[in-house]
Subunit: 131 residues, 2 copies
DNA sequence: CCTGAACAATGACAACTGTACGTGACGGAT
DNA sequence: ATCCGTCACGTACAGTTGTCATTGTTCAGG
């Protein structure tokens, strides 16, 4: 895979919206932004353009409008970002981050239950370190 | 508390080392960097200076050397960074991040067990949303 | 006392990031 | 056919970040 420059915060934000939409024009991405988050139309435009030059999305001219579509799996990018955060803030250990999330972050009881299920499932599915 | 400008990646890296050391000179911080991570002495110096002007650390002149010490709780800063990541990558939901960590990140069986204990403990201690 | 090695502090700078302005093209109303 | 509003595009720009070169200062040996 081509070595892509990392995403900045703003770029990540826009990429996330595009992932949700699957494919969209600048306007659609702009409108799909969460209500609280005010951002200029042209700013979104710039981010999308940069995402394209960085190779994260592809743009197709449809009529007279560019339609953007993702080009990389969200999992990949997100995973990368998470890994980096884990490295920088927790010395590469995932568990402390978990602990932080559980203890400090607002995790509801329902979510805790889900979490427990996740763990159960994983323990059954993958008893050994595959890969 | 004073509103502090956010920490950049590099600043965070240096801050982490300083937290571990508790208190240190530039040289000590520089030497305490993980082996793989090559970084210039003066770069560390610059980061520490910026951390000071940003209010995250305090510097005390000891002899003719500045000794830096943390000024804010790691938990605070880390929490902030984590929150931001959760916002930007997971729409503010902590659970998906957990899921990602469990499924993709390298979590060992032992860690899974610890995690389960954490959950148990939390469920018992705090049956209701006590904020 | 003079000199230079060792080390600290500051200044500088290119690249990147976040944000927006000005310019031009299209389509409907006159 | 012309004018006007809407929309998209490229360009621009100031602030931040990552990195280092240069300058200043102290101490040991001659």
């Amino acid at each position: 895979m081509a070595r892509r420059p990392p995403l900045s915060k703003g770029e990540m934000e826009v990429a996330r919206v595009l992932w949700q939409l699957g494919q969209a024009t600048v306007r659609q991405v702009h409108e799909a932004f969460p209500p609280g988050r005010e951002i200029d139309f042209t700013t979104v435009q710039t981010y999308l353009r940069r995402l394209e030059t960085k190779g994260y999305v592809k743009a197709k001219l449809e009529g007279r409008t560019l339609v953007y579509a993702p080009r990389v799996e969200p999992r990949k990018v997100i995973g990368q970002a998470v890994d980096e955060l884990v490295d920088r803030l927790f010395g590469g250990e995932a568990l402390p981050l978990m602990q932080h999330l559980i203890e400090e972050g607002g995790i509801s009881d329902a979510e805790l239950a889900k979490l427990r299920k996740l763990i159960d499932r994983l323990e059954h599915e993958e008893p050994r370190d595959a890969h």
